[in-house]
């Protein structure tokens, strides 16, 4: 038995039966990182010593019988959630040496659950990107094909889970940044409802869209992790005081009572690869065979989601990133003559080009004379997109679609073509604009052996329905044990 290949569910069983210890499991994961991360470059920081200390504590807790399903489980964290005493860079030069003095709420919750935090995972700088090429430090590679992108911005999280370099990971999703890399790397990733998980201690990109969520090897594993991190937090005034269901207990037999909506427009969407279209069609048939009723639905404004998103997200980003000024923390230019020069030099040297591009775009769209035409208009269209979903969910329980229009593409393909990269988010970012939850679950492979994901979206705070459909779909197609050739 290779311990690093275990799912969280399996490892939890073995830990509780004392068949393995958390120290053994953590050592196996650290050895796996040592063996394969040279090829993939998923980790920015590996905290081997810290992880083993946490594992020892977890073993003690397991011996006293006060364990949770995450006690002793080695997890990786996208490097934009603050971890006290452990460097948190956001994959940016401007935060290269930043050591947070506090834990994000999700980290506090994982620590309270007894999880073992192995290290911090690569991403597009400040989560701006869909490829993980826009990291200031390294390009992460897709474990299924080392010349391909792992997706992004949580590309390090998805690649690490796919390559068994952690049992599960946390990512964040502002326009698809959990679901799209999960799809490209053949793992499961869920973006919860906006407000379901506290953003306290999450480095902000676009605050009305950002949401933390788990990536795992199976649907059940993501349910276990979401259950641990979800719930109201007084430190995040946008977190919602909604009760957190027992997600990991959700299973049920068949989908006879479930109505699945299929958006009429997706199959004609710009740039949809026929292999992705075919995989999603097969997935829909599988879901039907489980008893679900499929109906056509219409989301008339979805064509405008990318344009609305690429106004709203850069506007919020330009405001959020104003805090990086070289005064209180982070990089500072060495020899400025005055304060203004310090701001300008610090920011232009500290931020990479995709981040600067979005700051300029957002600042432009918010500047005098343009606000109504851009931010105002996009915010109205956001209402229309939200209403579309509300109308659709009057007649169905979930909506299925592709996650990404193509399988993972070659590294470098969109590096100087931001619009093409933005358009690859076409199926995912509506969920962020509307605040609804969405899960990506593997549904097949391309002819080149690249994973393809299926997206299932649901009503606000109905992640339970997503887990139910995804779990039964996963069981029906049984591809979860296929591993990347490393």
């Amino acid at each position: 038995m290779k311990l690093h290949e275990l799912t969280i569910e399996q490892a939890c069983g073995l830990l509780n039966n004392k068949e393995i210890s958390s120290v053994e499991l953590t050592r196996a994961v650290l050895a796996r990182i040592e063996a394969v991360d040279g090829k993939i470059d998923a980790y920015l920081t590996v905290d081997a010593d810290g992880a083993l200390v946490q594992a020892q504590a977890a073993d003690h807790r397991l011996s006293t019988g006060e364990a949770t399903p995450l006690t002793g489980i080695p997890l990786g964290i996208k490097d934009l959630m603050c971890t006290r005493g452990l460097r948190t860079t956001c994959a940016s030069k401007i935060l290269e040496d930043f050591v947070p003095p506090y834990d994000a709420t999700v980290i506090t919750r994982l620590k309270n659950a007894g999880a073992v935090i192995v290290g911090k995972l690569n991403m597009d700088e400040f989560a701006m990107g869909s490829t993980t090429e826009h990291s200031a430090f390294q390009v992460t590679r897709n474990p299924w094909h080392l010349d391909r992108i792992p997706g992004g911005s949580s590309g390090g999280s998805a690649a690490a889970v796919a390559a068994d370099m952690c049992l599960g990971a946390l990512g964040s999703d502002t326009g698809g940044s959990i679901r799209q890399p999960a799809s490209h790397c053949g793992v499961v990733g869920i973006k919860p409802t906006y407000g379901r998980v506290s953003r306290f201690g999450l480095v902000a990109f676009a605050s009305s869209l950002d949401q933390i969520g788990p990536l795992g090897k199976t649907v059940a594993d993501t349910a276990i992790m979401l259950e641990a991190i979800a719930g109201h937090d007084p430190n995040d005034s946008t977190s919602v005081p909604e009760p957190v269901p027992n997600f990991s207990a959700i299973s049920g037999d068949g989908l006879a009572d479930v109505v699945v909506g299929i958006p009429k427009t997706y199959s004609s969407a710009r740039g949809l690869d026929p292999q992705v279209g075919a995989a999603v069609e097969r997935a829909v048939k599988t879901i039907e065979s489980l008893g679900a009723r499929c109906i056509d639905i219409s989301l008339p404004h979805s064509d405008h989601a990318v344009a609305a998103y690429y106004v709203i997200a850069p506007c919020e980003a330009s405001s959020n990133l104003a805090r990086y000024d070289g005064v209180k923390y982070g990089f500072r230019d060495k020899a400025p003559t005055d304060l203004l020069q310090m701001y300008r030099r610090t920011r232009s040297q500290g931020f990479g080009s995709e981040v600067q591009r979005r700051i300029i775009l957002g600042t432009y769209a918010l500047s005098a004379g343009y606000y109504d035409a851009y931010y105002g208009k996009a915010s109205q269209i956001r209402t229309l997109i939200k209403n579309d979903f509300q109308n659709a969910f009057a007649s169905c329980d979930v909506i299925v679609s592709p996650v990404a229009p193509t399988p993972a593409y070659p590294i470098g393909e969109t590096i100087d073509d931001p619009l093409t990269m933005y358009l690859s988010d076409i199926f995912t970012l509506s969920a962020n604009l509307a605040g609804i939850p969405g899960i990506s679950v593997p549904c097949g492979f391309s002819d080149d052996g690249l994973p393809i994901g299926l997206q299932i979206m649901g009503r606000h705070f109905n992640e339970a329905m997503l887990f139910k459909v995804a779990r039964q779909f996963e069981r029906a197609i049984a591809i979860k044990h296929k591993k990347p050739p490393l």
């Binding site: 007084p234 946008t238 919602v240 070289g326 209180k328 500072r332 208009k377 109205q380 604009l433």
Partner: protein, 94 residues
Amino acid sequence: MKITKEEVLHVAHLARLDIDDADIDRFSGQIGTILDYVDTLRQVDTTGIAATSHAVNLTNAFREDRVQDHLGQEASLANAPEKDDGTFVVPKVL
């Protein structure tokens, strides 16, 4: 050109960014392409549609006004690029 080099320079100044000539050209081209695409939003009639700034609207998220543990001065200053006697140090302002 959708956005001129002068506009890029003006916006870069507002955003406190120092960008060089090569980047000004590159950004004005790329941002121009993005803005052309964003302009498709004008085709949508939004008369009378309210704006959404948050998908899940919460108002008045109050909590009790109670003294709690907070970061002390030392922890707050721990990441400062330059500090002195419990304060952040910055270059001259004027």
